[in-house]
């Protein structure tokens, strides 16, 4: 690994909590990727005779209403939940960065873009998301699309604000004076300098998206119930909550653990990359 990257990581992980959060996330991602090898059972294998068994040596986190192993479903659920979250981050950051830079750099586009952003932000996240999923149809891909539309405005706002600052800096003016064209100024000079706020937002959006996907799946307006995600697991477990609370408890803990780790990592990145905030925190 090259020296700047090492320095970056060393500074980021100076706080032990941030390091812990990163390790927890890494562990969850590795387990999710290695699901077929580490999962003790087939997540879809139903054994009705073993339904709603409490946690035991064989089924560490118990079984659900169809006798499926809860731990295995949580492991496979991580694939869907984190996969959806990551796709949302990718889509919203790419779109948001594009529109944010355009709005911040070109004042003719600023008004129209920001009005649309205001309109999207006038609706609560989950209300907009459930409406979009209803319109698009419930599937994993459409959940990603809907949540990407919900979170893009946040990225646009952050990137626009940074662009407004960066484009007035002397080095941008110098580049312009040297005859550097607008596309190159936008992609090289401005994009590189608004990368930190985008990275910070990306981490937070990841956390929000994991929570929102769970909420949508729980409402039945998300991923179809046969695909194990942490949200669908809680949704199907809730009927049996008074007899088999583990079917609700453990998938929820997985959500909390992932979202919390992402949030801590985001806070860590922000503290490190934003010197103005470092003072206050």
């Amino acid at each position: 690994m090259n020296a700047p990257a090492l320095l970056f990581l060393r500074r980021l992980f100076r706080r032990k909590l941030v390091l812990l959060a990163a390790l927890v996330l890494l562990a969850i991602v590795v387990v999710a990727l290695a699901a077929p090898w580490v999962s003790p059972f087939d997540p879809g294998a139903m054994r009705v005779v073993r339904r709603l068994r409490p946690p035991s040596a064989e089924h560490w986190l118990g079984t659900d209403e169809l006798g499926r192993d809860v731990l295995s479903r949580i492991i496979y659920g991580a694939r869907a939940s984190l996969g959806i979250g990551f796709s949302v981050v990718l889509a919203s950051c790419l779109t948001g960065t594009l529109f944010g830079i355009l709005a911040g750099y070109d004042r003719r586009l600023d008004g129209p873009i920001m009005r649309v952003v205001d309109a999207l932000m006038a609706l609560p996240d989950i209300l907009l998301a459930i409406f979009l999923v209803a319109v698009l149809g419930a599937s994993a891909g459409n959940v990603v699309l809907a949540l990407a539309i919900v979170y893009t405005p946040r990225v646009v706002r952050v990137v626009r604000a940074s662009t407004l600052v960066v484009r007035e800096l002397p080095f941008v003016e110098a580049a312009r004076a040297l005859g550097v064209g607008t596309p190159r100024i936008l992609t090289v000079h401005i994009l590189l300098n608004v990368a930190s706020p985008i990275l910070i937002q990306a981490t937070f959006i990841f956390a929000y998206a994991v929570l929102a996907e769970a909420g949508l799946s729980f409402l039945g307006a998300g991923v179809p119930p046969e695909i194990p995600t942490w949200g669908t697991m809680i949704a199907s477990g809730q009927q049996y909550a008074d007899r088999a609370f583990w079917t609700v408890l453990y998938p929820g803990l997985a959500i909390v653990l992932s979202a919390l780790s992402l949030q801590i990592l985001g806070d860590g990145l922000r503290d490190m990359l934003d010197p103005k905030l470092r003072k206050a925190l």
Partner: protein
């Protein structure tokens, strides 16, 4: 040729203009935002698969029946005509009739407003009662153990899914201990006391989740204010620390805190969907979920436009209060 962006666009045009001009500008912007929300909601709803008339009449309906019902609701006319007619109607406050409930949309929304309104109010009250003192304590003893505990709890609360917390509280306080009802809003005709009893657990859930934001925000505002010169002056005058913190610092930090509280109420009016569903509360969120599942276009459109309208109005009101309290704010 390179287009040279001109200076910072925020100051020159807006600052120093009289309050009425900027108020008019804000109202204009508000109407544009609402128009965009209405446009988006209308056309996206029409893109959705599924014909409400066909869904309503069921599988047995003949094509003629479906066509007749479509005509009754005006669904057979060109899209732009439907849109223009709808805009004209909502401008006069008429959101049409619910296809399934056979009642005006405004009536349907109004009937569902009470639990949602109380839920938003109580949740924010709990969030403020927990979050504001926690944030102040955390800021005053910044970096100490108490700050770390408070900040840690706030971080945790912000990342707990509300429906999961709801299920845990139901399990513990309603099923095991029997202190509160499990779900619903009381039988029809239940007294106000009974209805409010049903709101205790859901308010607690949203109160806890939102207290995280309030705590973090109060802490940041207080830290910001406490570093000001006049706070040092107050201290150097020999005023007791409690007075410096509560009167001088908190007095200033209160304005942005109240802003956030106001916006939280606004967001909870349409954003408590999941919690309303867990607790079976017949609120606006619940109404939207069922309207979405039944493709009840007028209700979906009406609810979304009303929620957005309420949000931008509360936003504007909060802004105006901000301006009255703090004369330096002009943007």
């Amino acid at each position: 040729m390179i287009r040279r962006p001109t200076g910072s666009r925020n100051d020159a045009s807006e600052s120093g203009s009289p309050m009425w001009t900027s108020l008019a500008r804000r109202l204009g912007g508000l109407l544009v935002v609402l128009f965009l929300v209405a446009t988006m909601v209308f056309f996206l709803t029409r893109l959705a698969p599924g014909d409400p008339a066909a869904i309503m009449l069921g599988d047995q309906a003949s094509p003629e029946d479906v066509a007749r019902l479509r005509a009754t609701f005006g669904l057979d006319r060109p899209l732009l005509v439907q849109f223009a007619l709808w805009l004209k109607e909502i401008a006069t406050g008429n959101f049409g009739r619910s296809i399934f409930l056979q009642q005006p949309v405004t009536t349907v929304l109004w009937d569902r407003a009470e639990p949602t309104f109380f839920l938003a109010l109580f949740s924010v009250a709990i969030a403020a009662l927990v979050g504001v003192p926690a944030g102040i304590v955390s800021a005053v003893w910044r970096g100490r153990a108490v700050d770390q505990v408070v900040s840690g709890l706030a971080l945790l609360a912000a990342n707990v899914p509300s429906f999961w917390l709801g299920l845990i509280l139901i399990q513990f306080f309603a099923v095991r201990l029997g202190w509160f009802p499990v779900a619903g809003y009381g039988a029809p005709g239940a007294s106000l006391g009974e209805r409010l009893e049903h709101l205790v657990l859901p308010s607690l859930v949203l109160g806890i989740v939102n207290s995280a934001l309030i705590t973090r925000f109060t802490r940041a505002s207080m830290l910001d204010v406490l570093s000001n010169d006049y706070v040092r002056t107050a201290r150097s005058k020999g005023l007791p620390e409690s007075r410096v913190v509560l009167r001088h610092a908190f007095g200033t930090a209160l304005v942005p805190i109240v802003t956030v509280l106001g916006l939280t109420v606004a967001l909870l009016i349409g954003g408590a969907i999941v919690t309303e569903t867990v607790f079976g509360l017949p609120g606006i969120g619940n109404l939207v979920v069922s309207a979405v599942l039944r493709r009840d276009y007028p209700v979906i459109q009406g609810a979304l436009v009303m929620v957005a309208g309420l949000y931008v109005l509360i936003n504007l009101a909060v802004d105006l209060i901000y301006r009255l309290v703090d004369p330096r704010v002009t943007a």
